[in-house]
Amino acid sequence: MFRFQTLLSYLLVGFHVLLLFLLIFQEKVMLPAWLQPVGRMHPMVLHLPIGLLVIVGLFWLFKREFAGESFEKLMKFVLGITALSAAVAALMGFFLSREEGYTADVLSWHKYTGIGLSFLCYGLWALYQTPQEQRLFTPLLGVSAVAMFVTGHFGASLTHGEDYLFPNAASQLAFTDDTPVFEAAIQPILKAKCYQCHNEQKTKGELLMTTLSGLLKGGKNGPIWVAGDALKSHLIQRANLPLEDKKHMPPKGKAQLEADEIGVLTAWINAGANTKQTVGQLAVNDPIRAFLNKEKSAETQVATYDFEPASTETIEKLNNPFRVIFPMANGSPALQTDFFVRQAYKQEQLGELSEIKEQLVVLNLSNMPVKNEDLKTIGQFEQLEKLVLNNTDITDAALSNLQALTKLKSLSLSGTKQTKAGMAALAKLPALKEVFIWNTPISEADAKELQKQYPAIRFEMGYVPTDAEKLKLNPPVLVNENLVLTNATPVSFKHPLKGVTIRYTTDGTLPDSLTASAYQKPFALNGYTVVKARAVKDKWYASDIVEYTFFKGGYRPKTVELLNEPNPQYMGEGGGTLVNFKKGEANDFKNKAWLGYREKPLEALFVFDKPTPVKSTMLSIGRNIGGYIFPPASIEVWAGNDRTQLQLMQKLSPVQPTKEESPRIEAIEMKLKEGRYTFIKVIARPVGKLPEWHGGKGQPAWVFVDEVFFN
């Protein structure tokens, strides 16, 4: 033991002399290369004296517990190795300090305090050898402990960076659309993965990455990026080298770049390494934006609420069909409240929510008759992050009541009377990110100014109509359900859009969108009329033309006898079908409004209850050329007052089609001689053979009739 103590004392003297020598002549000393690995062991060895010094302190603190001869020996021994390890660590540190990359203040502070600490430990050991001087031991131990902390702190600042211990939290991920991409995405990556070795204190490879000028200047191998060509840029090349490669960056053992971080750096360099481009200017699908959003959402996802949940009873008590309160998710204390049904809204229902104001995070008052003074109540719900006031009755004055809502992120004001002036109150809401101002008196120009004034807030204007974009109106809608007009029923039209003019004609011509009669009120028609109408409106294209054929039902026979049965497939509702004033449709001949004949002619006897002064008979027939439905080959009208002695009034052969045409309904009028008749017979003969040009040439055609009118 004695020999060990002696050896120890020689070693300590030797090392400390060496330390002093190196310190004094440090500018002139050249260190051999083989010492480099020794120096690099400094970060490992330095922990030894720290631990030992702590042990010494603890022994000294509890020395009464261990009092005795062996305690003295033990103390001497432990102090000896403490001092020795401190001296070795200091020497190694000195060798390491000669390597490039460490500069400036922190290193020299660390060097001097480190060597100082070594001498202090030496002093402690020396002091303990002579028992009478031990009263100085306690203060010296205290000084050594302080020196150890100071040295350790400087050392850690060198390796981990100066703000490792107290990071500047505000600088993390706080970006808006106006933040340069460089600051929002690039710098944070470099800071996390590169600053550690490329900072002002430790500038490895002569590359300083903490400043923009340093980055642009590059290191000893030149600039680190080639704008627009990531694959030729050192930064990316080094990152993509195999981990084992000496040139791989960050070096093996240090925190590595993630794949998406390399992706972002690559994308940024390929896009020109523009240090001025802002986040807002990024394409929506830019990978950098996706990266930022991911980082951001990762942040919001961990955002949990630390407030106490409201009691289930309170939530149940406040819940009703018109005011719904529910937690954001299972187990979350955060609550959302929705109001529904404007009629059911009562002002005091808002005030009652103060029972859950500690938990209320989302409040939706969309379409409720909320007044300005109600916002005083809302202004007390300090946890609110989202407030929806769309289509409420609030005005500019209201928003100043929201000043206490320091957590409010999203505010919806669409459909309110808010003007640009009212937005001034928003400046006081620090967390506000988005404001929805569609359909408010705020103009597009106002919105642009607001955006400039409050760059941190996104103002959403939504759809703004332009006169340049013209759409076609939909056609007018006929209100009449029946196209057979009786007892002077007027024709009436409507259109669902406000401010539309309906223009129409009754003479079969196309309605001109400027000059045709404008529909004012329902109008009466005299007999069979084709009405054509279209809707027109300023700044819209006129609608398609709609066409309706009206019939006038004058005299109505008492009974109808069908002298020939219709085809069994198209029996309608018997003879009455012809006089029930129910019109069929030209593209629906299966409808019960139609009677269809093919093999036999339509032959119907209409019986009036007394001799009636009928002047004309009108047949409403269907035409569907593709469907073999043609106008009759001939029509005869017979009339008289004795069913066995009827007189032929008129015979007519309608004009036959000569080509394909779209289905429609046609009216054919037959005149009667002046007189009063009880019986009128109508015969309509189908075309026997379809013409040559028709697909079904040679086959018999159909005749379809839905109504016969007598006037």
């Binding site: 394409a283 929506v284 699908n285 830019d286 996706a290 959003n293 959402s297 996802q301 069909p321 018109f322 719904v324 529910f326 937690p327 954001m328 998710a329 299972n330 979350s332 929705d338 529904f340 049904v341 404007r342 009629q343 059911a344 969309s366 379409n367 929806v388 769309n390 289509n391 999203s410 919806s412 669409s414 459909g415 988005e434 929805f436 569609w438 359909n439 959403e460 204007m461 939504g462 759809y463 109509p465 974009e469 759409l471 076609k472 109106l473 939909n474 669902p496 859009l497 406000k498 819209w540």
Partner: protein
Amino acid sequence: MNKNEFLENRLNVNRRHFMGKMAAGIGSVALGSLLVPDLFKGAGDDSEELPLGIAHFAPKAKRVIYLFQNGAPSQYESFEYKPLLNKMAGEELPASIRMGQRLTGMTANQAKFPLVGSYFKFAQHGQSGMWMSELFPNIANIADDLCMIKTMNTEAINHDPALTFMQTGAQQGNRPSMGSWVSYGLGSENKNLPAFSVLLSRGRGNGQGVYSKLWSNGFLDSTHQGVVFSSGEDPILYLNNPANADRASHRKMLDNLAELNSIAFDDFGDPEIKAKVQQYEMAYRMQTAVPELTDLSKEPDHIVKMYGPECLVPGTFAANCLLARKLSEAGVRFVQLYHQGWDQHGNMVGEMPLQAKDTDRASAALITDLKQRGLLDETLVIWGGEFGRTNYGQGNSTKDNYGRDHHPRAYCTFMAGGGVKPGTVYGQTDDFGYNIVRDPVHINDFHATVMHLMGINHEKLTYKHLGRRYRLTDLAGKVLPGLIA
């Protein structure tokens, strides 16, 4: 219900209940249950562990609007740009691409499978550079809001099973619809309106029917059934009290009826009785809630220009889009639209523009309208059909007119809002558009992802029926993070 079922209800104590009850009385069994507390509880039901009526975790989408394009819109004339098909038009679909895959009966006997390119022009839109056909100019305008899936794929090749699969997660059609599952899992936000609402419209193209089984509650309570709105002037019929009946007497009638029903429930224990009472109550509240929905006086005049003038004509797709927005804004959890007429086996060039015209403006307007009200972040809009169409022509196809048959291997569907990645194209097909090259989205995966966006763990939302637990994705489905923002 016949008499036997009434009697069986009295015996509605099963083995586990019986043993559970006995455990309290019989010493040895009681001791056993003390030592192993769960001994007689039976296997735990997942749906009991996670409470119903609340999201399992924080949802990104609170509501869904599903613009279902019924009949299978052709991807090649809408969102899938495949210039190779124009270049190789008329040439045979290479066997190396077809790989002997199954065909429908309509083209299986065709001697040739000549490729056909799109008659309509394509261009890139938005900052995202998404390819869109000229038939959808308004949807193209909002390309940067869309998450376009190019690789939807299904197992069914005919309309009915494919529709049923898309809507219920199974082809057979006895399962609850997606909207019913969501109603069951999350409950209703607005108890004055049905949580699952269905709106129907019909275009001018060749159509395929829709059936009530698509919005069926399946084995879930009938309160979760989709409620179909009328296509007429009044979306909900018989809403007003009859003449001379005031609201007070209506209320009294309902109270008395509820009392009688509760006696009946005590007797028979049929849960449908309770469902009935709830539905009466909702109908009563709907009398005040619905008039606000159909009231357009709070809307500015230019809303008509936004959705197009058709939105004022009841029963059109545009009118349904506007109504869907109002329903969704009023807290309706799941609004399902069906627009018929997309089955272009022939006359693609004639019918496709009509179908596109019906849907393009209103679909884009709906998304923009949600956005400008601050609702898009929490509302998921889905647009797509039940499968895609073939890259080869059906029947006698020419460059100027052609038809396409059913193709389940890959088709397009887009989503917007509700926590999906905006301005994104997901997945890729080969240059023929026939097979998926990268990132397939199977319908089960699609369902799992939509459920995830709504804050539901699709594996945990189950219902026990016929002795086993069912879920929307049944035994498959994985959440696709690539779709989620």
